[in-house]
Symmetry: C2
């Protein structure tokens, strides 16, 4: 049962593929903003790596690469910084072996179609001597081992680790219920809160164990994920949007478009941890030392690319951005046909509400101990 | 010009994706028959590799893996043989790192969807201790470097190397014409024959140079491709089906469905070399020693899976099988709308003809010299 459900989650957590109007590729502005905010710490980690002896070919993994303009962003930056730093130091720059990881349902075909442009851009920006740069795709869950031992020199993951390997088992086996909700909320029982926190703890500790095996001693890892700056797991900051999405689902229940049991049996495989929980997790694992940890805050309207829109326009952009991320997951449970009414309703709910929350992420940079 | 055309070829040489009626996945019986015929020599190469010290993780590349039931066939066999041989010898079996390569237009999404089944099957057949087996996809032309140096222990490629990196340049720049034909034929000029032979020679020698860099000393490579058992480059054995396809295209020209210039400017990026040419190529490269070379012959009706059908049924199967392989290439030049009439006509032409040819392939097994 556990295995089956976990497989299920892995088949449906994927951003909306393609390059159409509703695709993740065209609705990932807040993730792009986050990536760009994370640059200083990422750059420092890469420069630090350049102080060590680099191999002939530096292996870089991006875990949860998705499909769209953000896919190549981090790896491009990482390679460019290494290349330029080596030139600056008068050292001969290494080649690169780039591994793009995401779940098997990710639209890798679209990623591959953009490869020629990616290679051209790297040469245009860095000169014709740049490279060689070999790109491979690694389909699979990062809660499984993805590489043989000690292969990676730099691991990056952005906006992915808040996705759990599965819905907490207590919810799956109905030991705990979460009536009318799909994530933690102000009214969550302590048992529900515990179930989510424990699932995250297990997943994060497994992630660290696997990466510690795959990373060479001295290798770097930079992770960013949605997080909390408060110990309170049910503050608006981490729960508001899930609450509004649950409201939209409740609306469809009252219209008879969704069966009530269908809503009651859906829970998000998601958790927004407190930054201190992450530090504790890394310390408990023991194989990485933390070089830096930063809280990154994006404004409420970050899905609009930081432009100051009015409430209805912002509501539309937020709903679209949530749809691009969550549609495959929700559609597999509730049916594809209710996706449009659901997100239309979500947009109306957000537009009618007056609350605004900031989107909080954490960025942590670490080194694989020798 | 040269670069552009070469890119073009790389974007369109790909088997028909998906799993539909006309897909390569459902019309690749002759390729499957060939794979199964190549097993004894492949097995010997793998057993020989097992006599050497195996690394913790054996890196296996399949170049031109396509998408369908054949994709995992060779790598599954290679891993199974290594695993069982190690158990038999009382040695601890290695893990595996499998690299599936094909052009970026290959339907990798479909390949990734079948990964869970593939992993389950490997464990079912070999036991739960089998693995770990990590799978990565490497999109790109095998006429480019695909891996950093000295990474691969076993390289396999089946039914792919007869595809050239580009149409011979003399045809592209119209120094030579090939009126009404799309490949070599009985009426080909010596200049045309030379142009094709030289393009193959350049491509094959580049392929060997690249693989010799990527393969560890002592690593093995087993290649199969369409070939000739006669020095005559325009015998029916290698030209008949291309001639019949050209006839079908000529038919559409006379019906006004295709412009004559369109047909005259199309030439297949394909060459069926004489087996001795391959040996010479490998000797000239100098980095591999040949362990064995075998000619494999499939009957005329191999697309029907070896069943004895009547001529019309066989004609239908051959036309379907050719369509699954060539449709993306032909459609990009002639337009998707004429594909159905084209292959319908091809089927009629094959059905009305009485000639039969055997399909000849060569299988060559070699070792990367130390």
């Amino acid at each position: 049962m556990k295995k089956k459900e976990s497989m299920g989650v892995q088949q449906v957590i994927c951003m909306k593929g393609g390059v159409g109007e509703g695709s993740y590729a065209r609705n990932s502005k807040s993730q792009a903003a986050l990536l760009s905010k994370s640059m200083p710490l990422l750059e420092q980690a890469v420069l630090d790596l350049c102080c060590t002896t680099l191999p002939e070919s530096v292996a870089i993994a991006d875990l949860g690469c998705s499909s769209g303009p953000n896919t190549f962003f981090a790896v491009s930056e990482i390679m460019t910084i290494i290349y330029r730093r080596c030139r600056q130091l008068g050292r001969s720059p290494p080649g690169f072996w780039v591994f793009l990881n995401d779940l098997p349902g990710n639209d890798f075909n679209a990623v591959f179609k953009s490869l020629p442009t990616f290679h051209e851009k790297m040469k245009e920006e860095n000169g014709q001597e740049f490279g060689p740069c070999h790109v491979a795709a690694v389909p699979g869950s990062f809660y499984h081992k993805l590489f043989p031992s000690r292969r990676l020199h730099f691991v990056h993951s952005s906006c992915s680790l808040h996705w759990l390997s599965q819905v907490p088992p207590e919810l799956l086996n109905k030991q705990i219920t979460n009536k009318g909700k799909i994530y933690l909320s102000k009214t969550s029982s302590p048992a529900l809160i515990d179930a989510y926190a424990s699932q995250f703890q297990r997943d994060f500790s497994l992630f660290l164990k696997l990466r510690s095996e795959e990373t060479v001693p001295g290798g770097r890892m930079v992770l960013s994920l949605m997080a909390r700056r408060t110990p309170d797991p049910v503050s608006d900051e981490s729960c508001l949007l899930w609450d509004l999405l649950a409201q939209a689902l409740q609306g469809l229940v009252s219209e008879g478009l969704i069966a009530e049991e269908k809503l009651d049996s859906y829970n998000a495989p998601y958790y927004q941890p407190y930054t201190e929980d992450l530090e504790t997790g890394i310390e408990n694992d023991g194989s990485f030392s933390i070089n830096g940890l930063e809280i990154m805050v994006l404004p409420w309207d970050s899905a609009s690319g930081g432009q100051n829109y009015d409430r209805p326009t912002t509501a539309q952009k937020i709903a679209k951005s949530m749809k691009a991320v969550q549609e495959p997951m929700l559609a597999s449970h509730f049916g594809a046909e209710i996706m449009d009414p659901l997100f239309k309703r979500l947009m109306e709910i957000i537009a009618a509400d007056t609350r605004e929350v900031e989107h909080v992420s954490v960025l942590v940079s670490m080194t694989r101990k020798a």
